[in-house]
Symmetry: C2
Subunit: 82 residues, 2 copies
């Protein structure tokens, strides 16, 4: 069993209103040293396989086909044994 952890983040040039809202909320709670807050997605996929190389190729394809929007999002992932 392998586990993939996929981080999907908005590209730096894309505005992130959700992150900005969190930043304002944190500032109103008294945290004044925030330079930037960005919101992203974390997808965890457990795969019924032991073949790490095939899993890497599959996860990359899943990101490109379905999980991430390549126009506005970047993705990165790590795969580990479960």
């Amino acid at each position: 069993m392998l586990q993939a952890k996929i981080d999907i983040t908005l590209r730096k040039t894309v505005a992130d209103p959700q992150g900005l809202t969190i930043k304002h909320a944190l500032e109103s709670l008294g945290y004044q040293n925030l330079a930037d807050v960005r919101m992203g997605k974390l997808v965890t996929i457990k795969l019924d396989t032991g073949d790490k190389q095939a899993a890497e190729a599959d996860i990359k394809e899943m990101c490109q086909k379905l999980l991430a929007n390549p126009i506005i999002e970047d993705y990165s992932f790590t795969i580990s044994e479960e």
Copy 2:
């Protein structure tokens, strides 16, 4: 400048309909070896400080106060130099 990467995930006992929908979508694309898909949030916070210890305490507090819902969510974070 420090950067905190915060993973917020649903607790294992909490149902994750969004993850299930992604699982079904991936299966319909032909990926048949998926054991589980879970959806979480990734918050990236840049802090205007060099004090890692204080930053860790702040981030933990932010998670407890605002970012995560401790009843249904777990959080973990890493802090690195920018």
